[in-house]
Symmetry: C2
Subunit: 235 residues, 2 copies
């Protein structure tokens, strides 16, 4: 494919990166409008989720209500926002839809989203098809106080945590090993977008995983005590 | 870096791939000798593990003895064999140690191991530092019938399963999307080495994960019944 001016006429690094589809269309919305609209959408989703969860299970503890919000939010981001990337990655750079504008803004800290990077396509496809649906399932299991809640919470959170480590690692290693940067030099892109936003998927899943491991160990300790108690009674 | 005949004088695909370190030294051991020696090493390790596990916990069920063998085997492969790759990836192609010869043989189905592929370096580094030690911990938790056994078994198995899906995916997607093959065309390399060997880390972790999810759900059901029983007694 020939490298034309229109192909590299974009703000992304590394310099000269060829965007998928070949044409770049600059965003028509400014950053604050994009963030505000995204935040408004999330707020509506979370409000509706909270009302539904409280109605479905009025005895749900506050910490569990927060986790239901988390799993519905992350599930929606996986299925819809990341799903949009997986479906449209070949033409994302030239699109002007709301989701495409968000992806073009985010890509300032990771241009791999606009170049159909094979690793990102694989991990995002798995996120959309596995972690998205399982996140919704987890929210449902928390609301219904299911005995499968902690195994699924741990499963999804391990996926989030490990996936994020690999995601961070692949970008940072190329930078470290060969100086190839996928993020722009301004601090807000690297620290704000890349580190800041993605760290959410380390901190909350880290807490969820820890919480599930402890609760599960307690459940097994209880089951074992009960078993030993039963054995003693028989003896 | 200039591409010289010595650099591309190797049996790996894609054609013209530049191996890290630049020099390729052909293996001095034939395939059967390598497999036999590796198998003999694994057999000795498994024999010693079985004897130790039985001595430490004579009441350990047979299915749990098998899982102890699995976690010690996979932990050893992660820490030592994959650890060797992470430490020596820049010079692997020119080395003639036993582990290097094994890696050069395996690389016939995935040349990324000889080119310091960034994704592989990241996922292998995480495997060596996280899943390796946790595999040994899991074997210990099974032997000691710890209440942390299932959470850690599920954690490591999710890591194995998800990591393997991404590993398979990245190689196959590049083949599918752009015809770039990292494996040689002979069936034994793709089906025997790439699919066959790696599938072990889908099948066994898949079973372990399923087993842990079911056992954990049972433990929570038991704990809940106990709780409800207690509540009824008070009422």
């Amino acid at each position: 494919m020939a490298t034309t001016a229109s192909m590299i006429g974009h703000p992304y690094l590394p310099k000269g990166a060829i965007l998928s589809g070949g044409t770049f269309t600059a965003n028509s919305w400014d950053v604050l409008s994009l963030i505000f609209a995204f935040g408004a959408g999330c707020t509506m989703l979370l409000g509706a989720t909270l009302a539904t969860a409280r109605k479905a299970n009025p005895r749900l503890e506050q910490s569990d209500q927060l986790l239901v919000l988390w799993f519905v939010l992350t599930g929606s981001i996986h299925c819809f926002f990341e799903g949009y990337f997986v479906s449209n990655h070949t033409v994302l750079a030239s699109q002007s839809t709301f989701f495409a504008q968000l992806w073009k803004e985010y890509s300032l800290c990771d241009s791999r989203y606009l170049t159909s990077d094979p690793f990102l396509l694989v991990i995002e496809s798995l996120t959309v098809t596995i972690w998205g649906p399982l996140s919704f399932l987890c929210a449902y299991l928390i609301i219904t106080s299911s005995s499968y809640r902690h195994p699924i919470q741990a499963l999804v959170s391990t996926g989030h945590y490990y996936g994020n480590l690999i995601y961070f690692g692949t970008s940072l290693l190329e930078d470290y090993a060969s100086g190839k940067k996928y993020y722009r030099p301004e601090g807000m892109y690297f620290w704000g977008y890349f580190v800041g936003m993605n760290s959410i998927w380390l901190v909350i899943p880290g807490y969820c995983l820890w919480n599930s491991i402890r609760e599960t160990s307690k459940a097994f300790s209880g089951a074992k005590l009960e078993e030993d108690g039963g054995a003693n009674k028989i003896a």
